[in-house]
């Protein structure tokens, strides 16, 4: 054993630093190994699983709640939770549908048909607005995140139902003579064979990863999620950080809403119901701590793909949808169990 005091103080640091053992490695990359296991298992069970076209289809399914999960990751890193993303997704789709139908301005008797890009921008701005409401409620009015976003969940869903009277906007393809065609581009088109939805997801993921690892904002977010008081005393604008994460989460939800309604070429008011739970599950499976301060974009993406590839795989091999729910739940509980083993000792 060590004798001098210098080595003595270092002794406790040893297990974390040196070459990781096999178990440590398996533990660190648990979401990755889970994904490999899922792919291998289903490939053995069905010849249709391990094909490029299937992976692309599955990936475009993952895109929807992958986008939600990225926003959710930011919120969870801050030590909060955003239950409103599913509703925001639905409402954003409805708003996009509403704008595509043409906006009547009765005062001047004009019907405006905004082009698709305007619709996309307005919808994302709307998502940001919903997020800002969450952020202000939580950061300045001190409403607990769970309650504030639960309230917004109901309000957003209600507004979506009111706007559509419970019906669905079916015709989102626009008309060439009005110059607003191309809404289905997001959902159907491919760039180099890759669905646009997947490209959107990849872009959001890369931007978010850079934001987290290479900007001051990322450092503010990790520190205020780890210890808000210490971060504040170090000069971190903790309230501003809090509002920004909910705004970003709202934008992610709006983007997901656009991709989904474009994939379906329709916008229903009930779209995205319970998707917030899937997003939370993806973040947790990706190794983030619900107490804040720990988590990565890569982990969250792996978490989203674990959920997506698992449920699509079960569909492909013909397992009933009821069983899918059971399997997904089991994976979530196991992930949380591993997280608590990982972080539990320290806190």
């Amino acid at each position: 054993m060590s004798v001098t005091t210098t080595t003595d103080s270092k002794k406790t640091a040893k297990p974390a630093k040196p070459k990781k053992g096999l178990i440590e490695l398996l533990f660190e990359g648990r979401a990755f190994f889970a994904l490999i296991a899922i792919v291998v298992t289903f490939s053995l069970m069905s010849p249709n699983y391990f094909t490029i076209s299937n992976f692309l289809i599955m990936a475009s399914h993952v895109a929807i709640f992958g986008l939600l999960a990225i926003g959710m990751l930011l919120v969870i890193l801050n030590g909060g939770i955003d239950l409103s993303v599913g509703s925001t997704l639905g409402l954003s789709g409805v708003i996009a549908g509403f704008l595509m139908q043409g906006v009547m301005l009765p005062q001047i008797g004009v019907i405006l048909y905004p082009s698709v890009w305007v619709v996309v921008v307005l919808t994302c701005l709307f998502g940001a607005l919903v997020g800002a409401v969450n952020g202000v409620l939580i950061a300045y009015l001190k409403v607990p995140a769970f309650v504030a976003t639960l309230g917004v969940l109901y309000v957003a869903r209600g507004v979506a139902l009111l706007m559509t009277n419970g019906l669905t906007y079916n015709n989102l393809s626009g008309r060439p003579e009005l110059g607003n065609t191309g809404f289905d581009w997001l959902g159907f088109n491919r760039l180099g064979g890759v669905p646009i939805g997947v490209i959107v997801l990849a872009t959001f993921a890369v931007v978010c990863a850079i934001l987290l690892t290479r900007t001051a904002f990322g450092r503010w977010l990790y520190s205020s999620g780890g210890n808000e008081r210490a971060a504040e005393l170090s000069g971190v604008p903790v309230k501003r950080v809090k509002i920004i994460v909910y705004v970003l989460s709202g934008i992610c939800a709006a983007a997901a809403g656009l991709v989904l309604s474009s994939q379906l070429t329709s916008a229903g008011p009930t779209a995205g119901t319970t998707y917030e739970l899937t997003a939370i599950a993806a973040v947790v499976i990706g190794g983030a701590a619900l107490t804040g301060g720990r988590g990565t974009v890569v982990g969250t993406m792996l978490g989203a793909f674990v959920i997506g590839f698992l449920s699509d795989g079960l569909v492909i091999i013909g397992v009933s949808a009821y069983w899918q729910t059971v399997f997904t739940g089991t994976v979530i509980v196991m992930a949380v169990l591993l997280n608590s083993i990982r972080y539990g000792r320290r806190i």
Partner: protein, 513 residues
């Protein structure tokens, strides 16, 4: 330092500790303490922070177990595995922070966890009757159905005592029971304590208010650095005896830095007042003025509740003052945000490093660079190489023993963690650094290192203000010692002051009333 064994031999000793030692890793909190409690009498434990008083109390009340030594109750050795076992033997402890549920009424608090139940549920009538009896015995007119949050602190203290008595406690340990009480409430409490001793209850009393404790105690025991250094009966001793034995010879914590020129006023606090957080109307900092020059080290000494923390947090921008100004290098910074105070060169090292100082989920390096992110930004992106050099410089400058910047913060010892918090603020290249109890919870060697580091920086022109509640630390690197009492400066001394003078000015041993 051999302890005189308080061997009275009489059969009035109800509880005795024999060679009790307690070690935490390599830290010796107690080093073989002998200690006796006499039936129906009050024994007071004196000692500075970290002398081992609380550790001894926790061992006697079963909260923690000693590493060696034994506890003898009524002549027989006993082992308490838990606080509830100690309570079954009649030993109860009343902590400084009361453990009542404020939302529940007095009756429910007294019977919390051991409700009197019948076949039909809790027998509230019987509980209420017993509560009434207890409160009558204590001569305290409190309705058993009053919610505890509606009671004054002194009354809550009485409820705690009632709860201890309701389990037939014969030995009552009281940790700083008067620290939050008004003078009249203290009188009431002392009367209750005297009545209890008349009924044969033994009291172990801990207080920082030496004079107050001397009024009531029968026996005095002094602890220092985990040893019992002195024991005497009240009739044989006076205040001076206690102070002398408490303070003893101290480890050398350095001397005020010399050989550099003290510059102009760097920080000027003018008539600053800070209202109490609860908004009850009085000021925790009361029209206080203080000027600190570049290169000067100022120590602020005061008891708990003297307003030291509030003063520093207001100056650093965390709390808002109700009146007064804070001027940094000729620029007013009153009411500025923490971030802008840091940017203009005024930084605070908070008192509680776990709660306010460190982000446990981040590495040593990221904790060190947290307050100076702006210094290693290149455009909107952080520069890895600049950050690394900033971190390595900070580690070298404040002498942190670590495996490097990527080590988890939890792998460091308390003293090194404290150096990370200090290093983080020094990395912002401040003009003025405020440190709230920088020596709290770190061992004597680390303390000396922290003070040496601060003295070095003062020599380079940094203005240093630190607070302490250990009088020995005032007489180290400070050029000036300010004593705070009830939100105001009660005295100001040069470095050649004596410990007794400082303690007297703080109200720790107010002259005779």
């Amino acid at each position: 330092m051999s302890a005189r064994n308080p061997d009275h031999g009489g059969n009035d000793v109800v509880l005795a500790a024999r060679n009790i030692a307690k070690t935490y890793g390599s830290v010796h909190a107690l080093k073989g303490v002998n200690f006796e409690v006499h039936r129906g009498q009050i024994t007071t434990l004196f000692g500075e922070n970290g002398a081992g008083k609380s550790t001894l109390m926790k061992i006697l009340s079963g909260v923690i177990q000693p590493s060696s030594g034994e506890i003898i109750l009524d002549g027989k050795p006993v082992v308490f595995a838990s606080a509830s076992q100690a309570r079954e033997h009649g030993i109860s402890i009343i902590h400084q922070e009361l453990s009542l549920a404020p939302n529940m009424n007095v009756r429910d608090n007294i019977f919390m966890g051991r409700e009197i139940t019948t076949a039909t549920g809790v027998d509230f009538a019987e509980e209420e009757r017993q509560t009434r009896l207890l409160l009558e015995e204590l001569e305290e007119d409190i309705d058993p159905l009053t919610p505890v949050e509606n009671l004054r602190l002194g009354q809550q203290q009485i409820v705690e005592i009632a709860r201890a008595l309701s389990v037939n406690s014969r030995i009552l340990i009281m940790d700083e029971p008067t620290s939050a009480l008004s003078a009249t409430e203290v009188e009431v409490l002392f009367k209750v304590i005297r009545d209890l001793t008349a009924k044969g209850v033994s009291i172990v009393y801990i207080s920082h208010h030496l004079e107050e404790a001397l009024q009531i105690t029968n026996h005095a025991v002094v602890l220092r650095d985990g040893n019992m250094t002195a024991y005497a009966e009240r009739k044989d001793i006076d205040l001076e005896w206690i102070v002398r034995n408490m303070v003893g010879e101290n480890f050398d914590l350095g001397s005020p830095p010399t050989g550099h020129t003290i510059g102009d006023v760097a920080l000027s606090i003018e008539d600053l007042s800070v209202p109490d957080a609860a908004g009850v109307g009085y000021n925790v900092v009361d029209r206080l003025s203080l000027a600190v020059k570049s290169g000067e080290v100022v120590c602020i000494y005061g008891l708990m509740g003297a307003g030291r923390t509030e003063l520093l947090e207001t100056v650093a921008g965390r709390l808002k003052p109700s009146s007064g100004r804070v001027v940094l290098k000729g620029r007013e910074v009153t009411g500025n945000s923490i971030a802008s105070c840091i940017a203009s060169g005024l930084v605070l090292v908070p008192e509680d490093r776990q709660r306010d100082g460190l982000v446990q989920t981040m590495t040593v390096g990221r904790n060190l660079s947290l307050a100076s992110i702006g210094a290693f930004l290149r455009g909107v992106f952080t520069s890895v190489s600049r950050e690394m050099s900033l971190i390595n410089e900070a580690i070298a400058k404040v002498h942190i023993k670590t495996d490097g910047g990527t080590a988890p913060i939890g792998s460091l010892s308390g003293g090194n963690q404290q150096k990370v918090v200090i290093g983080k603020m020094l990395a912002t290249e401040p003009e003025v650094i405020l440190l709230d109890e920088p020596s709290r919870g770190i061992d004597i060697g680390a303390k000396a290192e922290v003070f040496k580091l601060l003295a070095e920086r003062a020599r380079q022109g940094l203005a240093v203000v630190y607070t302490t509640s250990e009088v020995g630390e005032c007489l180290s690197i400070a050029h000036r010692i300010i004593v705070m009492r009830r939100g105001r400066i009660s005295a100001e001394f040069g470095p050649d002051v004596t410990k007794e003078q400082i303690m007297a000015a703080s109200g720790e041993s107010v002259g005779t009333h």
